[in-house]
Symmetry: C2
Subunit: 321 residues, 2 copies
């Protein structure tokens, strides 16, 4: 019997039922594991793995023929060195997280524009005083680094709220969603930054995106600009960001991703002013829609796999997304 | 010379320049006052007043021919007893606040759906743990009480984020914005509440809206429903709301308006769980767009007034909006 190892820490009983039925019909047996490490001792019995946080599975899975990653980010799997079977098929779940992450972006964008951290501080002291200046998404010049699923969902929502949306991407030849008013190439970033009210980073973790928001680029932003990162913490020079916030050379920032994670208790980011920190939760599996979509994508591919058809949702492993 | 008294606590120098130019061209002289009470000693010299928080101006303005209210809410001016000149023209600024207030609603809606108060509590303790369940605007059944400027702007934004939007209004005959999937009459509210994931109140303060969200209606909402009030605090039975939050019979609430305001330090609302309190700031004049729009509306009407044409933005004073 051909076997599938599935991590079930994000699955409901309905999800398991659906996976079980489809697998049985296609001639597969499914075993469930709470953590990736629980699979390792018996890994050689499995042809397919569906889960997350499982670089040891790719590292040790000599017989593994398909690794289905339940996350969108694939940075841990980029290097050839982590693949025991160099011919293992690899799919991810990019596309399942756009709604959850874009809603997080809109939330923190509004919180920063409306000085919500200061309002909340006053409320905790039972101090009923309004702040004297708020801003609006309406008319805001929003620059989005990364125009994939997440960047596009952010653009759609911001556009519906009246923002002027510029997308920045690697390949400007490729068509972008109509929610983007403009699309520029990454090499034009320097020209865009002085005219950016809010910069949203939704980039995968790759060699190219590491440190992309460096000190010089932060300094090109207007003094009241906002920075929001929901991609990977490595994209931002955190020290330069803290300096800019402390020196009032930035209006505010919201980081859902940082380096390292979890952020150590003594890290200076905890005390940076006008910074909204969240624990890499913008796109996690806390949202039911995301889990449903991740399962849908896996089952769609399982049908294809069984039929010998090419899989969908195949990232470029070396490129990193 | 015909004279206009203008409160300038919300005006920029550009606003004053525009008001001065238009007034001069139309044959008016403008004097500025920081507070309504500063006008009172010289009130009889003014034909027009443009400002806010000024019920003493209507009460004492026997010679006043036009009172231009810079706010949208007109509850203080409803009764005949507060008008020294029963024939005084009355305009308000409903329509200037929809963008600011709707962005507040989207912000607190997302904060409640994503358990942001709990995330922020953990972050303040430097506790890097995610919450286990968040929800999305996508697919949310949103019921909006009040389909005017504010309700419509909320509906448009929520619709763009995938919500199913039901509007509830007094007059179902009148056409509603296409952002509403459905429009019901207030008398049908009881049928709607059990199928409401989030209830947004954007109602004016009138006799009809007082206590509209009473204990019985709160109990008709699902146990994880959210309640957001940006209209008037009088619309909600606060004691019943606190009981429902404490008893886990509501998912959460966000109140930007309460009774009384400011909320006294000993008030039990400060300690209600899963409640986001803000100091009546959702639609105040902190947003530049709002101030610009309020000035635009006044100047448009000043042209009409000088030409002897009927004014726009005239609320029904006795009805209350």
């Amino acid at each position: 019997m051909r076997r599938i190892a599935v991590m079930d820490d994000f699955l409901s009983s309905e999800h398991k039922e659906r996976i079980g039925e489809t697998a049985a019909r296609l001639g597969f047996l499914v075993d469930y594991f709470a953590r990736a490490e629980d699979v390792l001792p018996v890994l050689d019995s499995y042809e397919i793995f569906f889960g997350h946080d499982a670089v040891e599975v790719t590292r040790q899975g000599r017989n593994l023929r398909w690794f289905a990653c339940a996350f969108a980010g694939i940075d841990p799997y980029r290097s050839d060195g982590v693949w025991a079977n160099p011919n293992c098929l690899f799919t991810n779940s990019a596309g399942a997280y756009g709604i959850a992450i874009s809603e997080h972006v809109i939330m923190v964008l509004l919180m920063l524009l409306r000085q919500m951290p200061e309002v909340q501080r006053r409320m905790r002291r039972r101090d009923w005083r309004q702040v004297d200046r708020i801003r609006s998404v309406n008319g805001l010049r929003l620059t989005i680094l990364g125009t994939g699923d997440v960047g596009t969902e952010v653009a759609r929502r911001a556009k519906a709220m009246g923002a002027f949306v510029t997308g920045v991407r690697r390949n400007v030849q490729k068509a972008a969603d109509p929610a983007f008013d403009n699309v520029y190439a990454i090499r034009q970033l320097e020209e865009l930054l002085p005219n950016t009210d809010a910069l949203v980073l939704c980039l995968p973790g790759t060699l190219e995106t590491e440190g992309i928001l460096n000190r010089a680029r932060i300094e090109l932003l207007p003094n009241d600009a906002l920075v929001i990162n929901v991609g990977r913490g490595t994209a931002v020079d955190q020290e330069a960001l803290i300096d800019a916030l402390r020196g009032n050379r930035l209006g505010g920032a919201a980081l859902d991703v940082v380096t390292p994670e979890p952020l150590p208790p003594e890290h200076p980011l905890w005390q940076a002013p006008r910074l909204i920190l969240t624990p890499h939760c913008s796109g996690d599996m806390a949202l039911g829609y995301t889990r449903d979509r991740v399962v849908d994508m896996f089952l769609e591919n399982l049908e294809r796999y069984a039929a010998g058809e090419p899989l969908r949702y195949v990232p470029n492993r070396r490129r990193g997304y």
